[in-house]
Symmetry: C2
Subunit: 113 residues, 2 copies
Amino acid sequence: MKEAYYAVIFTSIQTGEDIDGYNAMGERIDALAKEQDGYLGMDNARDSRTGLGITISYWRDMEAIRAWRGNAEHEVAQRLGKEVWYQSYRLRVSKVVRDYSFEKDSNDVTAEM
Amino acid sequence: MKEAYYAVIFTSIQTGEDIDGYNAMGERIDALAKEQDGYLGMDNARDSRTGLGITISYWRDMEAIRAWRGNAEHEVAQRLGKEVWYQSYRLRVSKVVRDYSFEKDSNDVTAEM
């Protein structure tokens, strides 16, 4: 049984403006997130058909999420996101209460929580 | 202030086998989910570069999630997923505790929870 942890679910549609700047900032922000205390990991996918992007970052607790939200460089990225890169987004903070994983080789589902 | 609700986060890597069957089942399962009591919506993206798929479905409560998990047709899909379609997956059930959205036209972030 692991400790409960948090998932920050960020879904977005881009404006299509300044894609190079967006990608460069994305790499910088991902690297910065990894250095944060309480960072547990990230899943990211952007669907080329619909344009919907989903980024989920995982955190130890709400305090870690608040610290990341208030990080100075991250705040710059958030501002540019609203001003330039995102047509719309939605950000949900959620507490993970069940966690299962499956690997084909082990051919079994394991419950981690 | 809305009621709290739940997000089921499903991240997956496909084997690449039986893509047509997978896509047909995906459409059927999405349609079936929409008919379920307590279904609130879905976000889906598969990244063509990394192959990572993320599907997040939103539910009123844990009871609705359990009912959907036990749906007979959905159970068939889950079994085929393990046997044929997925190399690996991870399924997290989480409780949404904060919910913000941004639309460029309104130029403002609104907190819904």
